[in-house]
Amino acid sequence: MPSKVERWKDETYGMEIRDHLLRFAEEGWDAIPEDEHDAWFERFKWWGLYHQRKGQESYFMMRIGTPMGRMTPEQLRTVGEVAREYATGPVENPEFGDAYADFTTRQSIQLHWIKVEDIPDIWDELESVGLSTIQACGDSWRNIVGSPVAGRDADELIDVWPIVQELHETFKGNDLYANLPRKWKVAMTGDRRGSGQGDINDLAFEPATKELDGEAVAGFNVNVGGGLARKEPRFARDIDVFCRPENATDVAAGLSALFRDYGDREDRFNARIKFLVDEWGPEKVRSVLQEEYVDYELPTAGEGLRDEYDYNAGRSDSPGDYIGVHDQHDGRNFLGLYVLVGRMAAADVIELADLAEAYGSEMIGLTQRQNVIVGDVADEDLDDFLAEDLLDDYSPDPHPFLRGSIACTGTEYCSLSIVETKNRMVRYGRWLRDNVPVPEGVQDFHIHLSGCTASCAQPQIADISLRGMKTRKDGDAVEAFDVGLGGGLGENPQFADWVKMRVPADEVPGYIANLVETYEAERAGPEESFRDFVAGRDEDELAALAEAEETSYEDPYLGNTKLTWYPYAEDTSMDASPAPTDGQGEPLPSDD
């Protein structure tokens, strides 16, 4: 029997949801029938809107999908202006102020505290510069991820930007693929870095070469069925298909149609294609694709470039990100600037857009490590750009502990999370910077912090994985983390080993300090990366590497932030929430 969500989707889904949203915006929050909230909130996701958590009723998170995280400075400025005008709530965030944009691990942008009444004006502003919230969430083609500097990177096999644009245009707003059994995440990589992180996507195009008809062709190997969610993470499986660049749209259409037709619509937990690949095996995926969905003979896989991958690969010979100054193939440079936990104040977003434009940049990129890239800076302008005040906060040369930090949204807004995340990761990063010596040779140290067992901060593929839990301390329930070690992608992708459970949140910095000290003392030498160090040890050795302990670090969010209406309010109790509010942000009268 089809699931409840499938029934809601049968009634209304896809493009038509926009008309309903416009109607609700006109009539106000109260016009959304209370007994239909679940159905409408599920549908709104297709247009990039998530209703925020309990205590924040009538407020939405809005996600803007930017393919490969790529924008023009003008588009970035519009994001900043929209955030400044509309993404403000009743209470300021103590670290980030009252208007900011979040850059996500899927190279999208998230704004919070959006009111339904403001959506038409926001869409007008975004769409006037070619941005959209379409299919940013929901059961369809999500934002396509990959390297923002495709076509500029001096280190690439194929420029995938034209292909990604074609995929984006083909599959956004396309009724044939608008209603899939679950989300559909696609990565396309054309560089030698592995920066698409295709291994954790439903469909991954990985750069490869193959001799076809006596000619060496640059194209892609096709992998299917990766993903981190639930307790069963999977790396995408090789289905032994090589794809020429000109066939990418056909192959992508075939595989997403195969998922549409054969994916599980009865059990949403089982609805991702990774479980279909488990059930069928890669050989059957290939044969069904060949027989039912493509009308040319699929070549077998070509020669990949995996041994060159360094993005989030935990290598000691290469930092696994885009931070710093890099060569473009046209002689100019792109600069990777770190954005701590991916959150940037609206005023800074606007200032960065202005700076980029002033230096002649035509490209801004958001990375899967929640950082930002400014492209096209000429050699002669580099020193001036690097001396700009804004780069004091968004540095091209950050401290290794800050550089590698990623955090999901957490209890600030998210319905699933059980711990506070972003502000805590900011505090962890600063404390580690100020108190923990960095072992020689370590340029970046990846710490991914997620608020629950959903995997929005990609916790399984980090040097240190932190995942929200609870524990008891001095008789009180406190926020805590399960700790994993040694995950990463690259030539031989590996999920983290979970070595500690329920470490109290205020003892995590002490644990990391002790762990780093042990690593420095016991590693074979600076050439042994932390990931290699972990890989060389068994379970018992890993568990014994370090102990958690209290330090000078203080954690203001140790209590149960899930139970607050907003963790940073003066009065955090649910009763103190002003929500739901009207279009002006004024509390609406309660029915009680």
């Binding site: 209890t411 979970w498 329920r502």
Partner: protein, 94 residues
């Protein structure tokens, strides 16, 4: 070491309980998660899921336990839990 078997998020019934595992010749305590689940659509039974933190246990491999209850069984369990809770509450008041 193995990951958790049960997912844990804000909808989990209990993410922090005291648990114990006992067998012939062994007994160990660990924190536990306990969750009540029903199917989203046309549920026919209630599932109770229990998992003890595997990092704390040496005597059993990482796992979760699950029992399924009919609606009537779940109601009976709820009744017994209610009476037991009442007894504990009144004992505390005395």
């Amino acid at each position: 070491m193995a990951d958790r078997v049960l997912k844990v998020n804000a909808f989990t019934t209990f993410d922090l309980l005291d648990g114990a595992v006992e067998g012939h010749g062994f007994e160990e305590g660990a924190f536990a998660t306990l969750n009540v689940r029903t199917a989203r659509e046309a549920p026919e039974e209630v599932t109770l899921e229990l998992e003890l933190d595997n990092t704390e246990l040496e005597s059993v491999p990482p796992h979760a336990d699950r029992v399924t209850l009919s609606a009537a069984e779940a109601e009976r369990l709820a009744d017994e839990l209610q009476s037991a809770a009442d007894r504990v509450a009144s004992a505390e008041e005395e």
